[in-house]
Symmetry: C2
Subunit: 433 residues, 2 copies
């Protein structure tokens, strides 16, 4: 029996290959799709990234689109379910103290009720997606007729809730840039999907700020702060850019587009503005936001909002010369160590990926950095370079999407089962900085 | 009395302004230098960065060059001396246990002998620089005559030992790309200057690997690993580039140039190859190396080799499910916290700087990133964009050089005097990654 992380990665690899095989069937596409394109598309769907080398709406048949949507659903909610399953399997291996910590964190009366959590995840997902279909149908059915409109509503609802970023139009949601329903319903779907089930469960149960767990408070504060930061940044930098916000006529439309681009960056992947036209400074800001991503155990990717928050709080704590804490709770050294490991791995992976892609492709460096961050953060936003990559470049992108989706979870599993070293080393000191 | 870190920053600001005033004197330059250029140049010298908006050899008179060299000497060794002075002042404030830790780290029998350390620093600096003058004179005197040759030898010896990167030619050391003495003596000077006085003292005293402190071992292993990595990377990526290594005729010359460019990147700042002609992938690798920099309490900048090493060891430890350690010594949670704070601050500073510069300047993004990393790492390598920056851009670069040089030390002071919080917070847990 291989170790669980290896098993998990293997399962997702298998799912990807099955998806690629299905997408390669003659009746899955209206035109020939190469094996490489099929693997890329299946990986992008299973990892809920949304980067695409084919035009989903035009090149895939209804069958192909259904295959894609199933991959998205399994990849998005399935990985989340797996996370919970992992936690449950791990509940049997850890000592009583850790189990109590775990139980408190999950706000459960017993670690054996984790299967109940899994059922809640499935239930909430289906409920939210169904609500999404109804609301989005209000936009799509009048425009596209009943059958196609309903299919659009279903596809975009599932894709949005799972933070997959796949749409049926080549230009994502640009034509609905000022549509109020699209600007509210789609972000609502991917924010709910991306904030993490534990947070949703905590809010549904407690309903009062004071009672919420530290994790939930950190997620809520972090999400609001990042959203405001991204929205203000996008608005200020792009307000007069004639190719993006400048062409929109009302202040409301500009703010709506800034709001949408801010929330989509962590890690939904839809866009209502042509991202190839944004300024370099805006692209840099979006790269940072894509790498942060959404919440743990959610349909979102990135290093996660809480990882950033703990890094910031550790920095503040260091300057204030005390141990890191938030909302009256201490953040232990093991959690700082985890953040250190996560950010180091993320940085090295991002740099290595960018390095390899820049060897194989001579395009604009910032555009490449944008695509690499989008792949590793499983965001799916694009400035167009992904389509231009050669085989090496696309292979790197496939690996990055896979690592971006499976990596953090695998790391999480390793942490949860850590054992204490029996050898006690004397402490050495090192000069830093 | 202001807090010591504020005082330290104020002292360096004062030194910079005095230097700028001296460089603005009519007999300091052969042509008019603007106030902005004088401030930029003085900052670059005091922070031993080496980025320049004037041609030092052509635009400054001998008086101007002497002013520059004095600023470099105070900035390079002076900050180091200040670091030791800070440690000594702090030895009076910390408890007995911490003092013992400090004493062990400094390999001293008493914390009151720190003034002896300061004297050693000055002595070693002068001895190494004098040796550098003699060796470099062998190259410069035959080429430029006795007086100018000796001045070149003195200027480059001091500039190299202090990792300042300032040369007297507009194209740095490119014309000596294959000269064996330049390829050995100059790197020897900046490696000795940049590895850290504590390391040199430890090696001089112990002379045997087994007896060296953990810090020294980490620095030696890290320096060798980074040098080999940078040299191999530069050679592989640039071997056939007709504008860099490709134009060199022998394998030996190509390897020598690769060696030089590898060691100079952390953070000497001289170059023997035209860096505006290197590939994007090479530039990315060099950006990473510039941000790492050299050793703590040395003339080098960057987040420091040991900071990278601890981050890597913390990551390994996390995966191996044990506490971080190296060479049989444990690395405590407070040191991981410090690394976390340093890297977070470095990342935010680098991103903010790049963001501001990219708003004010529409040049190639990678070139801008290169200059920003060069300023913050106080490296001084340039692909040419620094000269093109407007006032906002140059101001950002000045601030980055200052933060790159003063920041880590200031942080170090804060750490060393940290007090323990008397309130005990219950530990909370947070989902990460
Ligand atoms: K996505
Ligand atoms: K330098």
């Amino acid at each position: 029996m291989p170790a669980p992380p290896v098993l998990l990665a293997g399962l997702y690899l298998a799912l990807t290959l099955i998806g690629a095989a299905l997408l390669s069937l003659p009746f899955a596409a209206t035109q020939d799709i190469s094996v490489g394109d099929a693997i890329f598309t299946a990986t992008s769907a299973v990892t809920v990234t949304g980067l695409s080398v084919v035009d989903v709406g035009a090149s895939l048949t209804l069958f192909g689109q259904v295959v894609l949507l199933v991959l998205i659903q399994i990849g998005g909610v399935g990985l989340m379910t797996f996370a919970v399953l992992l936690l449950s399997s791990l509940g049997l291996q850890i000592n009583t103290h850790s189990r109590h910590v775990l139980r408190e964190d999950l706000n459960q009366s017993s670690t054996h009720d984790l299967m109940g959590l899994v059922r809640s995840v499935i239930r909430i997902s289906l409920a939210v997606e169904a609500a999404g279909v109804v609301v989005l149908a209000l936009v799509f059915v009048p425009e596209l007729g009943f059958r196609q409109g309903l299919w659009y509503a279903l596809f975009h609802s599932v894709s949005a809730f799972n933070n997959a970023g796949f749409g049926l139009r080549a230009d994502s949601l640009i034509q609905w840039v000022s549509d109020p329903i699209i600007n509210l319903a789609v972000p609502a779907l991917f924010i709910i999907g991306g904030i993490g089930f534990v947070v949703i469960g905590d809010i549904m149960e407690k309903r009062r700020w004071r009672l919420l767990s530290m994790h939930t408070k950190l997620m809520l504060v972090g999400t609001v702060a990042l959203t405001v930061y991204g929205m203000a940044g996008f608005a200020v930098l792009e307000w007069t850019n004639e190719d993006t916000l400048g062409r929109l006529e009302t202040v409301g439309a500009k703010l709506a587009a800034s709001w949408f681009q801010s929330v989509t960056t962590r890690t939904a992947g839809f866009n209502t503005v042509d991202l190839s036209q944004i300024h370099d400074s805006t692209a840099l800001m979006m790269i940072a936001l894509m790498l942060v991503g959404g919440g743990s155990a959610s349909t979102a990717g990135g290093i996660k909002v809480t990882t950033l928050m703990v890094a910031l709080m550790a920095t503040v704590a260091f300057f204030k010369q005390r141990s890191p804490r938030a909302f009256g709770r201490r953040i232990g050294p093991d959690q700082v160590l985890k953040v250190m490991a996560l950010t180091t791995i993320a940085m090295l992976t991002m740099l290595t990926g960018l390095f390899l892609v820049s060897i194989s492709h001579d395009g604009d460096f910032l555009d490449l950095a944008f695509e690499v961050a989008s792949a590793f953060g499983t965001t799916g936003l694009s400035r167009g370079s992904t389509g231009e990559l050669d085989t090496l470049g696309r292979t790197v992108m496939i690996v990055l999407m896979f690592l971006g989706r499976v990596g953090p979870l695998t790391i999480g599993y390793l942490l949860a089962t850590r054992k204490v070293s029996r050898v006690k080393f004397p402490e050495g000191r090192v000069y830093l900085g």
